[in-house]
């Protein structure tokens, strides 16, 4: 009986760790709820942001420059106007292929955006920014 409890407990513990290590980061952007519900990030967009952008563009990033330009986890806390600015910048930098930076991709080619992923980001950023402008 004791053994069973111990097994269940250990299994729960392992599951917990797994959930934290895989799920925690995935939810990082969507976790912060925008106060006025200004920003919705569909899963398809969230996946791209998380996999291709979040490593540099987060509050704890080692890259000062990336952090200063855009903190994805803080997006939902921005004012409506600043949100428009950031979304416009996201759409523009992806469209012009300024992001991810070429030098970064030389080292981490797996972070390159596919055409489909770029389109997902651009359409979402443009669409949301236009909707906020209305």
């Amino acid at each position: 009986m004791k053994k069973l409890t111990l097994t269940i407990f250990s299994l729960l513990l392992i599951a917990g760790f797994l959930a934290i290590s895989t799920g925690f980061k995935t939810k990082a952007i969507q976790n912060e709820v925008s106060p006025e519900g200004l920003l919705t990030i569909p899963d398809s967009v969230n996946t791209v942001l998380q996999n291709k952008c979040f490593d540099c563009h987060n509050s704890d990033s080692e890259s000062m420059k990336a952090k200063m330009k855009l903190k994805l986890d803080k997006l939902p806390t921005l004012s409506k106007r600043k949100l428009v600015s950031k979304l416009d910048a996201i759409a523009e930098s992806v469209e012009e292929k300024d992001m991810p930076p070429e030098k970064f991709l030389e080292k981490y080619p797996e972070h390159a955006l596919t055409d489909a992923e770029s389109k997902i980001l651009i359409d979402w950023a443009n669409g949301t920014a236009d909707a906020l402008m209305k």
Partner: protein
Amino acid sequence: MKRIILIIVVLVIVIIQFIPSGRPDNNPVPGKDLLEVVEAPDEITTLLKSACYDCHSQQVIYPWYSYVAPVSFLVSRDVRVGREHLDFGFWGDLSKRKQIKALDEISEAVEAGDMPMKIYPIMHPDAKLTDAQRQQIIDWCEISADELFE
């Protein structure tokens, strides 16, 4: 030996004067410039003209040394890249959304001390912004962006 080096240096300097620097021309279009489109107090106009307009506009004032290589290469590149990022000379062509973005980015760059570029005030002391002047620009950007957004 010293003489040879000196001759080579002089020769190189003379030769590079013949390499075109690709200095961007000013092509102002009436009615398109930021200061014609947006209302700005005189103080802001002065600050923008002295701290930003020599790269980010169609009213670039080229000093004499910007005609001498290799400085000419640097100046030409700065103006080219500066205009690529933001050209006040064609402010009127930007959509409302792009204008808001630009104002927010100006505010961020000025606040962070990224702009004007550190090298610029060395030869342009008027472009050395005090904290108060930086704040003036930031406040003006905030107000102007809010007005556009409303």
